[in-house]
């Protein structure tokens, strides 16, 4: 009974993530890869990689923007990496934040980039929190089984 209730809670949580735009269809591709049976912890593993990369990349971008002379080419490369990483796991809000960042580093606008980074970080922290709740529920379900 507890497992059923938790599964319902998990499904509702994932549905709400899709409805609020945290996830897009790419996340369903990851679920298909997991359901294929070959890698039971696949989704949590790849999302874990994304979270690690995002934390590292946002830190590096902040460091670059703090320099007296900003290397906008490096900022570009890092945002590009994060965009690719977030798109691969279906983290839609983070991906869209990366796209919005683009115009500021193209214009070599430091203040704009600082603002865009703050927005990107907020979207990432919110997404990370949602993913963490998802994986906590999965662990609780597994503990019940």
């Amino acid at each position: 009974m507890a497992a059923v209730a938790l599964k319902n809670q998990l499904n509702a949580h994932i549905a709400s993530m899709f409805a609020a735009g945290f996830l897009d269809k790419q996340f369903q591709e990851l679920q298909m890869l997991q359901d294929d049976g070959s890698s039971p912890g696949f989704v949590s593993e790849v999302v874990g990689l994304f979270i690690d990369d995002a934390e590292k990349i946002t830190g590096l971008i902040a460091g670059l923007l703090d320099q007296p002379v900003v290397d906008f080419d490096k900022v570009d490369a890092l945002v590009h990496q994060l965009k690719g990483s977030s798109a691969s796991v279906g983290a839609q809000r983070v991906k869209l934040s990366c796209e919005q960042f683009h115009s500021y580093y193209e214009a070599k606008n430091r203040d704009g980039c600082v603002m865009a980074l703050a927005l990107l970080r907020n979207e990432f922290y919110d997404s990370r929190s949602k993913f963490q709740t998802m994986f906590q529920l999965e662990q609780q379900i597994e503990a019940c089984s």
Partner: protein, 132 residues
């Protein structure tokens, strides 16, 4: 479902610098029992071909450090590697033109869908089986 009457796995080469993308693409290729090799940029990819390594399909990102995907594709084709299916994979607006003019066979938007990959793998398998 991908079918291969002859049983030899498809040799897939991922050329990608973003590890999450590589991780997901590798998982997709494993669904189709592909052998997988990974290079992290265009120069590494070219080096594999210069060493005489052979692949059935190359899945190549566009923007990478040291050497871009389209530049690597152009150089790989210039080596005489005309049989291998080369797939350009990118979310960039101008990527398709860059890859196709470099000599790629196909361009696919990133992130790639399982269904799209399945179609390409089946095509590669059909070609391999026809050559036996």
């Amino acid at each position: 479902m991908v079918s291969n009457a002859q049983g030899s796995p498809v040799k897939a080469f991922i050329v990608e610098d973003i590890r999450v993308c590589t991780f997901v693409l590798s998982a997709m290729l494993r669904m189709f029992n592909c052998e997988i090799v990974v290079a992290n940029n265009g120069k590494e990819a070219l080096d594999f071909f210069l060493e005489g390594k052979k692949f059935d399909i190359v899945l190549c990102d566009k923007n990478m450090p040291i050497m871009s995907g389209p530049e690597a594709v152009k150089k790989i084709r210039a080596l005489g590697e005309t049989d291998v299916m080369i797939v350009g994979v990118s979310a960039d607006e101008n990527a398709m033109e860059a890859f196709m003019s470099a000599g790629a066979d196909v361009f696919v938007d990133k992130p790639m869908k399982i269904e799209t990959l399945e179609t390409m793998i089946q095509e590669v398998m059909n070609k391999k089986n026809a050559m036996i």
